[in-house]
């Protein structure tokens, strides 16, 4: 190997480690079970990852701007319940925009608190997790929501429909991923998000309105959550109040797996999509080789820590931390 030194390999592994691990993982599971890479299985994985994926797109913006959003899980429960309830009251055509408006209001509230009032995003969204959960339960009275006439509505198209042979949830995921990927990498707004997350003070001094940027990140996040809620509601046409519970941490795991730093300033939409797919394929692969669903929790744990460890180690140039 001319010219390829040990540190080059190490550096490559550290930078693209997550992709290498993903590739090894897929090869391993394909050897274990040939059905793993069958088109219908792959389609199934992507389809079931779509809800998580759509939310992860918005959370990527928030994380890059140096903040957190722990409220996405309960916010998705909220939008799912609201759209199902309004569906029977005012019809699907009005219910969907109404639900989007309500969810965006929640996002705007969080954005106002974190962006303009500069409150700690972890605590604010922790509080909102609890508050929105309470709001959802108050709205629904604690009952499950169901659409009365499940046969006679076109509402199911977002979760169950297909266009040109591709399931609509996947289409929505790809569409939003491309859109937000472009926004993040090709627009001035995207550059400002990185600037605010990388060094908020420097960004402020260079004339970027930090508050406005952060506010917009939360609006984007809540828009993604509303879309995910729409897919969820449309797929099952009925829902419990806790449908999104715990999702915030899975989403965060996907974003971190994709390599976004929680300190802000780094990460891309593409990497987040990879993170989402890794989680989805791990889940699916473990099920296919006959393991229980909870084994994936343990595997995810190990993978998250290894991924972030590699990332941190590459940045400091040492495997072990320098903490005395």
């Amino acid at each position: 190997m001319a010219g390829l030194t040990k540190s080059d390999i190490g550096g490559f592994l550290a930078r693209q480690g997550i992709l290498v691990a993903f590739a090894l993982f897929i090869i391993g599971f394909t050897l274990a079970n040939a059905r793993f890479l069958a088109p219908d299985n792959v389609m199934g994985v992507v389809r079931s990852s779509a809800i998580l994926g759509v939310i992860a797109l918005g959370v990527t913006f928030v994380v890059i701007s140096g903040n957190l959003d722990l409220s996405v899980g309960s916010m998705m429960s909220f939008s799912t319940i609201v759209v199902l309830d309004l569906h029977d009251k005012i019809g699907p055509a009005l219910a969907i925009p109404a639900m989007f408006a309500m969810t965006l209001c929640l996002g705007a509230f969080i954005g106002f608190l974190v962006g303009y009032l500069r409150l700690n995003s972890l605590i604010v969204t922790l509080g909102m997790l609890s508050a929105i959960h309470g709001l959802t339960l108050t709205y629904s009275g604690g009952k499950n929501m169901d659409i009365a006439d499940k046969e006679g509505t076109w509402f199911g198209v977002f979760g169950q429909g297909e266009l040109l042979g591709i399931p609509v949830p996947i289409l929505l995921f790809v569409l939003l991923a491309s859109l937000f990927g472009l926004v993040l990498s090709k627009t001035p707004y995207g550059r400002k998000v990185y600037a605010v997350g990388g060094n908020g003070t420097a960004a402020t001094f260079s004339g970027i309105r930090r508050a406005r940027i952060v506010f917009a990140c939360y609006i984007i996040s809540s828009f993604c959550v509303a879309t995910a809620g729409l897919i969820q509601a449309s797929r099952s046409l009925g829902s419990q109040n806790t449908v999104g519970q715990g999702l915030e941490l899975e989403v965060l795991a996907a974003v971190i797996l994709g390599g976004a730093s929680l300190l802000g300033g780094s990460g891309t939409i593409f990497k987040t999509v990879i993170g989402v797919l890794i989680l989805g394929f791990i889940q699916n692969g473990l099920l296919l080789v006959g393991l229980q669903f909870y084994v994936q929790f343990v595997v995810t744990w190990v993978i998250i820590i290894l991924a972030v460890w590699l990332d941190v180690a590459a940045k400091r140039g040492k495997l072990w931390s320098t903490i005395a």
Binding site: R118, N120, L126, M128, A131, H133, A313
Partner: protein
């Protein structure tokens, strides 16, 4: 009195003022709205309040040190569940069959040891890999929960030992066993934070890590000890609670980390580290439990509790920041 001391007094006393407000509000509102004839400030009701505060409260004491030290632990709920399963399951192991009630201290020991090991694992990873504690414990929150499920599938683990139930339901000087545990843990952690080198150093590290390192404080071992303590306390909380209830579901303890963090933040501990007090955390725990009980007392739906607590948490954060801004401006003058 100077303005600076006033604001610091406000900050320190705020949680107790809030508790007094809650008591007054629920007593008065209870007169008009409550369906039961019992007064809210009933002695039995208040004793029960302490007892019910114990599971969250014991863990919150550990979380206070962790947060003062500048870290966070999201895995306490899962640690709580694993320890509970070890406690109940180990009592049925054939190895201990001949021991009679002597199995109780052994099971307690095993459960507590589990908590210590899981905490130590978190601490070791945070120390040696240098990955942020938020990410490490986010991962182990999933991982430990997976271990809970792997232990016994999706079945609940149940075992009632009546000696243990009697012990857990006993009242000594009027207070329940769980309350005593909460009070003892609070006292011990207070001593640890305020009267030992470890406590001093934990504050120093959380306040300014670089300065602490330059002063010759070894950051790693202190973080490690704190994670061991919170693992131990999560296990202790499980031991106290499940000795009485005798049955644990694999989902038990979910969202505990959120309640615990809420209590600690209500008590005024900073997420950024370096500031926080055990006594205020105790106040935060009581305030949350009062709110839950009080809202139930005046006939509000249980779901309102989540709404109210979430909004209060945000309001506290806002007020705290306003007070801090004032303090900083005075410093400039």
């Amino acid at each position: 009195m100077q303005a600076g001391t006033l604001s610091s007094f406000l900050k320190r006393g705020a949680i107790w003022g809030f508790i007094v407000l809650e008591l007054i509000f629920f007593t008065v509102a209870g007169e008009f709205l409550s369906l039961s004839d019992k007064a809210f400030m009933d002695v039995d009701n208040m004793l029960l309040l302490f007892k019910q505060s114990a599971p969250i409260g014991i863990i919150a004491m550990g979380m206070t040190i962790i947060m003062v030290n500048g870290n966070i632990d999201l895995s306490v709920g899962a640690t709580y569940a694993i320890s509970a399963i070890v406690l109940l399951d180990s009592m049925t192991w054939p190895v201990f069959a001949g021991l009679g009630d002597w199995v109780i201290p052994i099971s307690w020991g095993l459960a507590l040891l589990t908590g210590i090991l899981l905490g130590a694992l978190n601490g070791l990873i945070v120390w040696k890999t240098g990955v942020d504690a938020f990410i490490v414990t986010l991962g182990s929150m999933l991982g430990y929960r997976g271990l809970v499920f792997m232990y016994n599938g999706e079945q609940p683990t149940s075992h009632l030992n009546w000696t243990l139930v009697d012990f857990a339901e006993a009242q000594f000087l009027g207070l329940h066993t769980a309350t005593w545990f909460l009070l003892i843990v609070t006292a011990l952690i207070w001593l640890l934070m305020n009267r030992t080198v470890h406590g001093r150093n934990a504050y120093a590290i959380g306040d300014n890590r670089t300065a602490a390192i330059n002063a010759g404080i070894r950051v790693g071992p202190h973080m490690m000890i704190n994670f061991v303590i919170i693992g131990f306390l999560a296990a202790l909380s499980a031991v106290v609670f499940y000795s009485e209830s005798g049955s644990v579901n694999p989902n038990d303890g979910e969202l505990y980390e959120l309640w615990v963090i809420t209590a600690v933040v209500l008590g005024g501990t900073k997420l950024t580290g370096g500031a926080g007090s055990i006594v205020s955390t105790f106040g935060g725990v009581l305030a949350i439990q009062l709110l839950r009980k009080g809202l139930a007392h005046i006939g509000a739906d249980t779901e309102t509790v989540n709404l109210v607590i979430g909004l209060i948490l945000i309001a506290v954060l806002f007020l705290d920041r306003q007070l801090n801004i004032k303090g900083k401006e005075e410093l400039k003058v």
